[in-house]
């Protein structure tokens, strides 16, 4: 542990590690300092200068987010000099910002507007931009850019380059002409963007947003000829409460069910069911691959197998590692599997023509919008999923309809394909897909439940960058004799930067695992780009707790024990990995390469 240094903040003494920033000392002292370019997930930038403080013995004011503590300091955060400097810097930021607040998606949740309010900005000190200067980039299925709102804080750049290693954004030009651009000033739809939406979640203003489809959803709800089915993923349920003033980690699943029914959705289903289905298919695929590799020595079959539930991750590997797509599981994500099953099996069960069904998916994710628009995702003859809504958009829809979660009764999901297991629930957290898969695969192979207390496979839980575990398969069932004594090696990575570490090892030939879970967003889906803003490390932990709690409370905690899944296979699909399963529930990938998307 490094040396502890005393810092006096407005008379409050705290000790911080040498090298920690003055801002973190202020946080420790409980002194609030305004920030704009700083974000707890990101590297230091120090560009906005609104976090200025006065440090005794220094001539100039310092940006507290960037100033490291290396000796005892006395800091003042509330002097007139500090206050005026912050106000001046804020005025300068505002001078460049086209503030069309009424029509801005961040109205009510804009960090710039909040600061302007807190600092009593009552006039524009400098000439103000009163007309838009840029055309909005709305070409992408997922991400919208409105450069007029950009204040050059570079959070998106740091998110894309440092945090996600996707490298879409750049700072172009210099001085007064600086702009945040997408490579060569192209549309974000035409570059290597993976649609993870992490930049949207970090943006302090409305410069970045997701493609909002709620108007089309409202139209379809009102159309008497259409039957609109909602499926909700676990992560939005653990987070949407935040949009209604609940603390992070509040579980509102059943209240949300009621609210969505009142909003007009004809059926409300649980994506966890499809997550269970994914586990059945993916688990079977893993065992098939292992059989081909271990027994048949088939060189064309690739191990490790990577999960394919995260559409951001799928597009990442398509762009950056197009020669390694054979390592991706061919399983569609739960969202798409569900869509395909709804428009075939479920349509028949409820007796509705699938052409009249519209499926809407409530997801924590902006990449799901792109995923449901992939041309190959139409196995039933119709679009598997018609619309992907983010947690934020759903909250907006409910607010628009006057449906406040606090006023809602609790309601269950609709039956037939209604319920998922606890294994499906934990898909929302990093390590969750792996844990769910292992609960099923281990039991399938050995006939015994996984050797972990209360089925909680703790080595794959938590927010570590890359988690590894291994599990020895012993006393296996006789049909799995070939797996006797095999040590199943698994790894879990969250955030594409961590996935890249694994992929680079794969390219070098030094990656020694059987099965790897990757989720494109830090923390997994619960930290997705469609989740409420802000999302921070603490908030992600709270959401993960909510998800794991819900898992423990669900009676069935293994995908293969979900009776509805068993019924679906019996009545419709046959068995996991069957021809019909492959037709409906599996997909293929596209080699995209690192440069521009074909026009």
């Amino acid at each position: 542990m490094s040396e502890m240094i005393k810092v006096n903040i407005d008379g409050i003494e705290v000790e911080v590690e040498s090298g920690a920033t003055v801002l973190s000392a202020c946080e420790k002292a409980g002194v609030k300092v305004p920030v704009l370019c700083h974000h707890p997930d990101l590297n230091v930038a120090g560009v906005c200068r609104v976090c200025m403080v006065e440090i005794e013995g220094m001539g100039n004011l310092q940006a507290s987010c960037a100033y490291p503590v290396t000796q005892p300091l006395t800091v003042k955060t509330k002097t007139n000099r500090v206050r005026k400097a912050r106000r001046m810097n804020l005025d300068l930021v505002l001078a460049e910002h086209y503030g069309d607040c009424y029509t801005c998606p961040r109205n009510g949740n804009c960090e710039l507007r909040t600061l302007a309010d807190e600092y009593g900005v009552d006039k524009f000190k400098f000439p103000h931009v009163d007309k838009p200067r840029y055309a909005k980039d709305t070409k992408s299925f997922s991400i919208i850019r409105d450069q007029d709102k950009c204040i050059h804080c570079k959070r998106c750049i740091r998110t894309c380059i440092d945090m996600q290693k996707v490298n879409v954004y750049e700072t172009a030009n210099k001085g007064h002409d600086v702009e945040i651009q997408v490579a060569l000033n192209k549309s974000i739809a035409d570059v290597v963007c993976i649609n993870c939406g992490q930049c949207v979640n970090r943006c302090p203003t409305g410069a970045l947003w997701t493609q909002d489809v709620s108007d089309q959803v409202w139209e379809d709800i009102e159309n008497p000829d259409l039957f609109v089915i909602m499926q909700t993923a676990p992560s939005p349920r653990a987070a949407i409460g935040e949009e209604f003033g609940y603390p992070p980690g509040t579980r509102v699943t059943k209240k949300l069910n009621a609210a969505m029914r009142r909003a007009g959705f004809d059926k409300v289903l649980d994506t966890n069911f499809a997550a269970d289905l994914t586990i059945m298919e993916e688990g079977t695929e893993l065992l098939e691959r292992l059989h081909k590799v271990i027994v048949k020595k088939d060189k064309s079959v690739k191990i490790p197998m990577f999960t394919s539930c995260s559409p951001g991750w799928v597009k990442f590997i398509e762009h950056y590692y197009p020669d390694h797509l054979d390592h991706l599981s061919t399983c569609k994500s739960p969202q798409q599997m569900y869509g395909a099953v709804i428009k075939t099996y479920y349509a028949e069960k409820i007796g509705i023509d699938p052409s009249k069904i519209r499926t809407v998916a409530l997801m924590p994710c902006s990449a799901k919008k792109y995923e449901c628009n992939r041309p190959e995702m139409n196995a039933s003859g119709y679009r598997d999923v018609d619309y992907g809504l983010t947690t934020r958009e759903m909250a907006m829809m409910l607010k628009e309809a006057g449906l406040h979660l606090a006023d809602m009764p609790t309601e269950e999901f609709d039956p037939v394909l209604g319920e998922g297991s606890g294994a499906g629930m934990i898909f929302g957290a990093t390590g969750g897909v792996m844990e769910a898969a292992i609960r099923t695969v281990y039991e399938l192979v050995t006939g015994r439940p996984v050797p972990f207390e209360r089925l909680n496979i703790t080595p794959v839980r938590g927010m570590e960058a890359i988690k590894e575990a291994s599990l020895k398969l012993e006393k296996v069932k006789k049909e799995y004799k070939w797996l006797e004594g095999v040590e199943l090696k698994i790894a879990v990575a969250h955030g594409t930067a961590n996935a890249k570490i694994l992929m680079d090892k794969l390219v070098d030939g030094t990656l020694d695992y059987h099965f790897i879970e990757v989720m494109a967003c830090p923390g997994g889906c619960l930290g997705g780009g469609g989740q409420p803003i802000p999302t921070t490390p603490e908030i992600r932990k709270a959401r993960a707790n909510a998800i794991y709690q819900e898992d423990e409370e669900i009676e069935i905690r293994k995908s293969h024990e979900n009776p509805l899944i068993q019924k679906l296979y019996k009545e419709f699909l046959g068995k996991p990995g069957s021809h019909k399963s492959h037709e409906l529930l599996h997909t293929h990938y596209t080699k995209r390469g690192q440069y521009f998307v074909k026009d």
Partner: protein, 159 residues
């Protein structure tokens, strides 16, 4: 993706080989490409990115920071007239007008025949011999409307 030009590919590969793949060598590579082709095209950005394994965004971010790296074909002779105060006081405006009248274009534009482009530059440290300008990398000082006409015809003769 834009059509790949064999010349460009081999030039970029050769230049990167000369300097090395490290990020610190990006600027010299950009300069050489700019000098060879007169500008760094979209295709050139892709090639540099591929060969040096640096993202296009980062390369374009660097290139766009420098006004001497062009992103389009400006013309054979890029004229950069100093716009700062000493040159301004020494009669920059007359020089400006002479250029615009003689070439039939405004500053910031290029002639249709692809021969000349007019631009401004910041101080070149030739305040004692103002007004000053650059034609490509060649310095000219103590400019008068007459000397400007001579320089233009000299350029025309050279092609």
């Amino acid at each position: 993706m834009e059509c790949r030009d064999g010349n460009l590919v081999s030039f970029v590969e050769g230049t990167v080989e000369k300097y090395g793949k490290g990020r610190e060598n990006l600027l010299p590579v950009l300069r050489e490409v700019n000098e060879e082709f007169g500008f760094v095209s979209g295709a050139a950005f892709i090639e540099i990115s591929r060969v040096m394994d640096i993202s296009i965004g980062e390369i374009h971010g660097v290139a766009s920071f420098y006004s001497f790296i062009n992103e389009e074909d400006r013309g054979k002779y890029v004229i950069r007239l100093c716009k700062t105060i000493s040159c301004d006081m020494a009669g920059k405006e007359k020089i400006e007008k002479t250029f615009e009248r003689e070439l039939g274009i405004k500053f910031g534009e290029s002639t249709k025949d692809g021969l000349f482009a007019l631009d401004y530059a910041n101080c070149m440290g030739l305040c004692d011999k103002a007004p000053a300008m650059l034609v490509n990398s060649q310095l000219y000082d103590s400019l008068t409307p007459e000397s400007v006409l001579d320089i233009i015809s000299e350029c025309r003769r050279k092609i």
